[in-house]
Symmetry: C2
Subunit: 80 residues, 2 copies
């Protein structure tokens, strides 16, 4: 899960908040936005999978200047 | 969490998968992409908060033709 750092203004989130409040469903006090990626890959252990995922985030998926991310690693049953 | 329906092709996810594999870090078999929104709003109960959030998703945040979503409702401590 990749989210924009709290210190960075997210104009799109501000616009979404305004639009949500114009629906008059409820008063939305804050909107935070982020991207979610689910990567399926082969690894010998959960630790190795985490190391790989962290490398892929750091090298391609995440912009470290503006974004921060949280990793969740899950084991999948493989259809043998 | 808003994700693209499995039946819908996601060209951006295909492109990201290709780019990730070109890093030669590991073989990524599949990439799924989605959007994550965190809405802070006032409600009298978790049930009411869920009803509101579902309305906001159905009316604005989610494109029902291509997307599906999962709601998670959490209570927040209010600084009185």
């Amino acid at each position: 899960m990749i989210t924009i750092k709290p210190s960075i203004l997210d104009p799109e989130a501000v616009a979404i908040k305004k639009a949500l409040n114009q629906l008059n469903v409820a008063t939305v006090a804050q909107v935070k936005r982020g991207q979610h990626f689910e990567l399926t890959l082969a690894a010998d252990s959960l630790t190795e999978a985490e190391t790989i995922a962290r490398q892929l985030c750091d090298q391609l998926l995440v912009n470290p200047t503006m974004e921060t991310y949280v990793l969740e690693v899950k084991e999948m049953a493989v259809n043998s």
